[in-house]
């Protein structure tokens, strides 16, 4: 996912007042897009959300929502939350460090475009193939596992590690989370003026002083906002987890996947409630991202 910052320019005033027919034609120009969005994005989602508050006969009920609060489902949300949180927080920190190193580290000029292109690839290299790559690396017969055993006499799986576990999944998610962070945070780092550092230096402030009192406070909303986007990104991911762990790890997307497939519960309305829960979680974190981004942009203006 490549998300670059957009800054809204002042909207140009469209050509004066027109007769009603012209106005109608103007709106007709966006009709195809609006109809598409309605049919394939908004209505389906809205139906689910409504369905979450209905029983099988279509009557209003809060029963589905109440049934989310069972141990099994709550623990699924909890594990999902943990994986998303840890992979987002770690991804944000490591991605920030990598981006800083490439952009402000005084490295040769080729480093930055190389990192950016690679990040474009890696952030899109999610899903099933990524799971394969990590199985081949850190799986029970993975290459790194084998190498560690053979040359360092270190039994990775003896330590309780498993690629199918919480740690394994988080480690795998980082493979697309870190590059995603690099891509989102790069514009913010570019926005850091060299003169800020120089002004600080001329006033006697050290490098650390600058980082602590100027650079981090300026970057903080962007960092936090990006981390929220990373969180939503991990929370909704299905393919990687499913290909990696099958149904053995109890996280919400997989639970929902199984639910839709009809493997386990086969209770549509509960499924709708599960979906609603996911939208609420990812929606909240995205709202946080948008709010923080708007705040940063206002500060720059």
């Amino acid at each position: 996912m490549a998300i670059t910052d957009t800054v809204d320019e002042p909207a140009a005033v469209s050509g004066g007042t027109r007769p009603r027919a012209g106005q109608f034609l103007t709106w007709l120009g966006v009709a195809p897009f609006m109809i598409f969005a309605l049919l394939f994005l908004i209505l389906p989602t809205a139906q689910l959300m409504v369905g979450a508050f209905q029983d099988a006969q279509g009557h209003f009920t809060l029963n589905n929502i109440a049934r989310l609060f069972t141990d099994d489902i709550l623990s699924a949300y909890w594990i999902s939350f943990k994986v998303s949180f840890v992979s987002a927080a770690t991804g944000a920190v490591l991605g920030l460090i990598l981006a800083l190193a490439a952009i402000q580290g005084g490295l040769p000029a080729w480093v930055r475009p190389t990192l950016m292109t690679f990040s474009g690839v890696a952030s899109n290299f999610a899903g099933v193939p990524l799971a394969f790559a990590f199985l081949a690396t850190l799986g029970r017969i993975g290459l790194l596992t084998a190498l560690l055993r053979q040359y360092l006499d270190f039994d990775l799986y003896g330590t309780g590690f498993s690629i199918l576990s919480f740690t394994g999944l988080t480690l795998t998610y980082l493979y697309f989370q870190i590059p995603l962070m690099v891509l989102i945070i790069a514009p913010a780092i570019d926005g850091m003026k060299t003169e800020w550092r120089e002004a600080c230096e001329s006033l006697g402030g050290s490098g650390w002083y600058f980082w602590w009192h100027v650079a981090l406070p300026i970057l903080f909303p962007s960092i936090l906002g990006s981390a929220l986007l990373l969180f939503a990104n991990a929370f909704g991911a299905v393919a990687t987890a499913y290909a990696l762990t099958g149904s053995s790890l109890n996280i919400v997307p997989i639970l929902l996947f199984a639910q839709i497939r009809g493997d386990v519960l086969h209770d549509q309305n509960l499924g709708y409630a599960l979906a609603l829960g996911m939208i609420v979680v990812t929606g909240l974190s995205n709202a946080g991202y948008i709010w923080l981004r708007a705040r940063t942009e206002r500060g720059r203006a």
């Binding site: 001329s202 006033l203 402030g205 050290s206 002083y209 009192h213 300026i218 720059r300 203006a301």
Partner: protein, 334 residues
């Protein structure tokens, strides 16, 4: 020895020589301008004084002490940037107090000094505002206050007015000069605007392609350019090639002849004073208080300025006039 003494300074970026053997001497309390087109090396010299760039060769001394290898933090030199470079996360008060906080001054003392310098730049009442809530001119005054409050030995101004509107630019120009005089602050000002340089400076260094073309007081630079470049850069000059000078005035010279438009006297067509020559008005431009005529004489076009006294004074296109230039006003430049 001068207060700020720059000796044989050089700067190379890769294979590109940006600053070449410059010597600059600035006395305590002087307001000195580095004037030149973009890429002439003026900003690089400024950044070397501040310590952001290390010279490839040469030395920088302040008050007799060699600071060439000193870090920017230890130099005690203040700088104001073209784009203000205010810290966007800090209020006006915090921005100005930044350098004092670095020096770990007691809070009360910081507050007192900040209040004082805010009064100096006439921004009292704006303490709690954030930079993005201020206008360009206000931001630049905050930046100035931030540099001033730590009482720097030298103040560096890197094109501080370029990003501002013409009207604000003029006001701020006077305000800066005023504060500088009051504080007796040694100041280096970088600009590409000759009018700015002339109105503000005690002395000017005109720079071109990494070298000092000429230095002197504003009056000297304006009235006595030594090179063709300076004459051109200060604007308005009539620059005659050797053959044109010969054609017009019958003089044999090396290089160019520079004549200021306002130093050419216009006499009525009937006048037969010595050393005059005839010309025809080709066109005129109204510059406000001055009317600038283009006069053609012996195949050479000259710009001639006359005060705009009243409408009846206007010389019509096609009119014949006689021109007179005194010897002192004809400068041969390299």
């Amino acid at each position: 020895m001068a207060f700020l003494d720059i000796k044989q300074i050089n700067k190379r970026f890769g294979t590109q020589q940006v600053v070449c053997d410059m010597d600059i001497a600035i006395e305590r309390g002087e307001f000195v301008t580095f004037l030149g087109p973009s890429g002439c090396g003026k900003t690089t010299v400024l950044r070397m004084i501040a310590g952001f760039e290390a010279p490839t060769a040469g030395a920088i001394c302040v008050g007799g002490q060699d600071i060439t290898a000193q870090s920017p933090q230890k130099r005690g030199i203040g700088i104001v940037f073209q784009n203000y470079a205010l810290f966007p996360n800090l209020t006006v008060e915090q921005n100005i107090g930044f350098g004092l906080k670095v020096r770990k001054l007691p809070r009360r003392e910081i507050a007192a000094k900040v209040a004082e310098v805010l009064r100096l730049v006439e921004l009292n009442g704006k303490e709690g505002h954030y930079p993005h809530e201020l206008s360009g001119g206000q931001r630049q005054r905050v930046a100035l206050a931030r540099a001033l409050v730590v009482e720097p030995k030298i103040l560096l101004l890197d094109e501080p007015l370029s990003a501002l509107d013409a009207r604000i630019r003029k006001n701020l120009r006077e305000q800066i000069r005023d504060i500088q005089r009051r504080l007796q602050l040694t100041t280096v000002f970088v600009t590409h605007d000759q009018e700015e340089a002339l109105t503000m400076s005690d002395r000017i260094y005109v720079m071109n392609q990494g070298k000092v073309e000429q230095h002197g007081t504003a009056e000297e630079i304006y009235t006595q350019p030594e090179t063709e470049f300076v004459a051109r850069f200060m604007g308005n000059y009539n620059l005659l090639k050797a053959e044109e000078a010969h054609q017009l005035l019958g003089l044999q010279i090396d290089g160019h002849m520079a004549i200021r438009p306002e130093s050419i006297h216009v006499l009525s067509a009937g006048s037969h004073e010595l050393g005059t020559f005839e010309g025809v008005i080709r066109r005129h431009q109204l510059l406000g208080g001055v009317i600038r005529y283009q006069v053609e004489s012996r195949g050479v076009a000259l710009w001639v300025d006359r005060l705009n006294r009243n409408v009846a004074d206007l010389l019509p296109v096609g009119a014949s006039v006689r021109l007179q230039i005194s010897d002192d006003d004809m400068r041969v430049v390299r």
